[in-house]
């Protein structure tokens, strides 16, 4: 077992040494054993391992956020070493820059749900993943949102974006409360704001209000960087249920833990550092609910299982607990022992994200093929076959650039400033892909649900067509196209069908372009499988 400190030391180095724990007691073997046992019990047919090409594409999309290059695919396919898959995983996890960018992109969407952008937040995320910062530490930095902690200032964006007012509506403190519950504790407490949850016995109004007590005490600060301030708090929060009408009170409190004692001070003694009205610097209250929350949050009952479940979802396309923000005793995990195992091991390994991702990637389950023979039906929750998973707008952007033979440097990624003063910016590829492929704000991007906008985009957008025009090479072979776009070689039947098409065409240039377009817009390209 690697202790947290050894882990950190290794991660801070430039080489991620693939310590292959492939023995009986390894976590990945235990994961496989649990899922196999559950499938055997119900005689569920399972898929075999994915072939090299499918595995390699999948693991690149998951850890690099982009399909592999033609050269990389060819090398991997040609590699004869028996442990080439482990080596590929370790190489990808060790490529810190690419890994950090990919994880930043994934967690930005996961935590901010397309609400908006902020440079400091993005760089805080990226740095956190580059250092392989443990998740509990990342959580502390988000929850504490200490603007005085300059390197980690960006973390406050989680609160500040949600606290921005829209129209005549008041600050959405309930929204902040709900999202902290959902994303960090696996509990959607929205329906417990005004009364105990009608359907979920484990979710009580006091759970919501205990969180709300701390978050409703925040004020947005007007700074160039994301920043919040905690007001003085010297009483508990009063609340009542709309059903019973009984008045209650609660101090800041995390679900499953005790109330935090509200510290009361003499007037004039409440601050460690008094606010300065002249410089408009907020004070530092002696009693800071956020500090207490930050300290205690990792100790809440579902904290570790929640993140383990979400990391599992990232690689597998479905949580062990679904929906992922409904951890409660009547919502059974698809594999209860597995959920316990992952939660426990994650704690033991100091909430080391890279460690858990690696263990999952080493499982047979992760490496399964995405096809089942015959008419077999595999309910997704059995993990009997690899699921077809949504690719993010980011993954599609980088992959489409690569699949059309380009590099990010030689395409128009960024917007072009208008020539006239009152003209419009011309959107670059990045913005176009986000517009077409990302969800509207606040809609989690968990499922593959393409929009008509994405279809119109791929059919008619001029920048997309430019990318395709530049792919066109009359000498392009079918094998070349398959390697570049699908990251695999065609099977015999495909070579027959498309080879014929290419050879019989009058205008090979157009034929190649149309074939490439059809491949880019086919289901095979737009999902992770």
């Amino acid at each position: 077992m690697i202790t947290r400190y050894v882990c950190a030391a290794l991660a801070c180095g430039y080489l991620w040494i693939g310590i292959g724990f492939s023995g009986e007691g390894s976590v990945h073997d235990k994961i496989d054993a649990l899922i196999d046992a559950a499938n055997s019990k119900v005689e569920q047919p399972v898929a075999g391992l994915a072939d090299d090409a499918e595995f390699f594409r999948r693991v690149n999309l998951d850890f690099a956020g982009v399909i592999p290059t033609v050269g990389e695919t060819q090398s991997f396919l040609a590699d004869k070493s028996p442990d080439k898959r482990v080596k590929a995983i370790d190489r990808l996890l060790g490529d810190t820059k690419t890994y950090a960018r990919r994880m930043r992109e994934a967690f930005h969407v996961h935590l901010m749900e397309r609400r908006g952008e902020n440079e400091l937040w993005q760089s805080w995320l990226e740095n956190s993943f580059a250092e392989n910062k443990p998740w509990d530490q990342m959580t502390r930095e988000i929850i504490r949102a200490d603007f005085r902690d300059e390197p980690n200032r960006g973390a406050a964006f989680f609160y500040t974006k949600r606290m921005e007012k829209s129209g005549q509506n008041p600050t959405d403190y309930p929204g902040v409360t709900r999202d902290v519950g959902r994303l960090f504790l696996g509990m959607d407490l929205q329906c417990a704001e005004c009364h105990n949850h009608r359907l979920i016995d484990d979710y009580n109004q006091v759970d919501f209000q205990g969180l709300f007590a701390a978050f409703s005490n925040l004020t947005l600060l007007r700074e160039e960087y994301p920043a919040v301030e905690e007001k003085l708090m010297n009483t508990k929060l009063e609340y009542s249920s709309v059903f019973t009408g009984k008045s209650r009170e609660v101090a800041p409190k995390l679900p499953g833990l005790n109330e935090i004692e509200v510290a009361v001070f003499e007037k004039g003694e409440e601050y460690n550092q008094a606010p300065d009205r002249k410089t408009k610097t907020p004070g530092i209250p002696k009693f800071s609910p956020l500090t207490e929350f930050a300290k205690q949050m990792a100790g809440t009952p579902n904290f570790s299982k929640n993140i383990a479940n979400r990391l599992w979802f990232l690689l597998m396309g479905r949580g062990i607990v679904e929906p992922m923000d409904q951890f409660h005793s009547e919502n059974l995990p698809s594999h209860p022992e597995l959920m316990e195992l992952l939660g426990q091991e994650f704690i033991t390994h100091g909430h080391d994200i890279k460690w858990l991702l690696r263990e999952i990637a080493l499982t047979k389950v992760y490496q399964r093929a995405s096809t089942l023979s015959g008419d077999e039906i595999a309910p997704p929750e059995r993990f009997a076959v690899a699921l077809q998973r949504r690719l993010s707008a980011e993954q599609l952007l980088w992959s489409t650039i690569r699949a059309t033979g380009h590099r990010p440097d030689d395409v128009q990624l960024d917007n072009i400033e208008p020539e006239e003063e009152d003209g419009d910016e011309i959107p670059g590829l990045r913005e176009r892909f986000y517009e077409a492929m990302a969800n509207e704000p606040k809609l989690p991007e968990h499922e593959f649900s393409p929009s008509m906008k994405s279809a119109l985009f791929m059919m008619n957008d001029t920048e997309v067509l430019k990318l395709l025009d530049q792919i066109v090479d009359e000498k392009a072979t079918l094998d070349g196209l398959y390697l570049q776009i699908f990251s695999r070689l065609p099977i015999a039947a495909e070579t027959a069908e498309w080879g014929k098409y290419l050879n019989e065409t009058e205008n090979r240039k157009t034929a190649v372009r149309d074939l490439a377009w059809a491949m880019l817009t086919s289901t095979e390209f737009v999902v992770n499988h």
Binding site: N169, Q190, Q388, S449, M452, L456, N460, A518, T523
Partner: protein, 394 residues
């Protein structure tokens, strides 16, 4: 919903036109005028084709069509703010279940389905920007959101580039289908179905560029509807309904006349009158009124009291909305306000929940007994303590 009932309803060919007058149209300058009273304002009234019923003189064409309408004059709702009030009206303001209820358009999309047109089931024609509006669908899920056409124009990336001929477009989509179908073998079909669905819908829409083009319509139509923004948008809406789109929503902005209200009304209401009356006439002409539910309303009415800026302010306590078409009794006036338009007659008037029930029933959907399902959670379709307005249902 019970599968057998769902099947029956799916065969239903009803359509909806939903005209939203954003900001609060004044009932006193339209459907329920109070001339020569303290708060009546400067406009006169005119008789309508319903004996004993008068509209404001600002609605001359609608006055002639009153006998096709069902007019609710005792609207009494809860919210006098735009930000909260607009979504509450559009979502039917059911009792709080902790879920976001769908807009009526999203609900109808889900229950009645897209129909046979291959076009999006829920289309929204509005000034300003367009785009996909999944938030309208609430807990039903983003699939049932609205597709908004900004300024009634074609969406972005609508036109095939010149470099691709129609034949090539057909060909490359055929190739796409073949690649996708090959991939779908041995895999769950949902991803492939979703991908095909959006490409098919996009192409169907692209083939109907004419739906967005009002310039080719006869001058007589353009004049009848009015060469105004609302008039043009209403014509696009007519195109959409004729093409079989299930639910068409048209929004007109600018109705929040807190100041200079009478000049404002004199400008806004006749434009609405021309566009809306023309639409009702045309639907009737085409035999479509029997199968189309037509609605025109705002989030509230306007105060009888005239403020210091010659304006009227928000007034949810007593206002009017109109509907017409399928399942309704034409020429019916529901409820009344008192002599000065301050109070509604019955103790509670009609809240939006009752109106939603009425709409569902008009479409043949039993909202009192059917339920939505949010995962496992059964939810009433409209406010569980309210009922449809029976007098107006055919």
């Amino acid at each position: 919903m019970h599968p057998a009932i769902a099947n029956e309803i799916a065969k239903n060919n009803k359509q909806v036109l939903f005209v939203w007058l954003d900001g609060g149209m004044s009932q006193l300058e339209s459907w329920d005028p109070k001339p020569n009273t303290r708060f009546g304002g400067p406009f006169r009234t005119i008789p309508t084709t319903i004996p004993g019923v008068h509209f404001s003189e600002l609605l001359p064409r609608m006055a002639k069509l009153a006998d096709k309408l069902s007019i609710v004059r005792n609207m009494h709702t809860q919210d006098n703010s735009h930000s909260a009030g607009v979504p509450r009206m559009l979502r039917g303001d059911p009792a709080n279940r902790g879920v976001t209820y769908p807009y009526f358009g999203s609900a109808v999309s889900k229950i009645l389905g897209p129909g046979e047109s291959g076009l999006p089931p829920y289309v929204w024609i509005k000034p300003g920007s367009g785009g996909f509006k999944p938030e309208n669908a609430g807990f039903l899920g983003p699939k049932y959101g609205a597709i908004a056409f900004g300024d009634g124009k074609r969406p972005e990336n609508f036109t095939r580039p010149d470099a691709i001929s129609p034949e090539q477009d057909e060909l490359r989509n055929e190739l796409r289908r073949r690649f996708s179908d090959r991939f779908a073998k041995g895999r769950r079909p949902t991803a492939n179905e979703a991908q095909s669905y959006v490409y098919d819908m996009a192409r169907t829409l692209m083939a109907r560029a004419d739906l967005f083009d009002t310039t080719t319509l006869p001058a007589r139509d353009l004049d009848r509807y009015g060469r105004t923004e609302l008039g043009q948008h209403m014509l696009v809406a007519r195109n959409m309904l004729e093409a079989g789109v299930r639910f068409v929503q048209v929004t007109s902005y600018g109705w929040d006349t807190h100041g200079d209200h009478f000049n404002g009304s004199a400008s806004l209401i006749p434009k609405f009158d021309a566009a809306f009356a023309s639409m009702i006439e045309d639907l009737d002409d085409r035999g479509m009124l029997d199968n189309t539910l037509v609605i025109a309303m705002s989030e509230f009415g306007r105060t009888p009291r005239i403020n210091g800026h010659h304006g009227r302010d928000h007034y949810p306590e007593a206002w009017s909305m109109v509907m017409a078409g399928t399942g309704l009794v034409p020429g019916a006036v529901i409820g009344a306000t008192d002599a000065e338009g301050i109070y509604v007659d019955s103790p509670h008037g009609n809240d939006i929940g009752a109106v939603f029930h009425t709409w569902y029933h008009a479409l043949g959907i039993d909202s009192m007994n059917e339920e939505f399902y949010n995962a496992d959670q059964p939810l009433p379709m409209a406010h569980h303590e309210m009922e449809p307005i029976r007098e107006v249902l055919a």
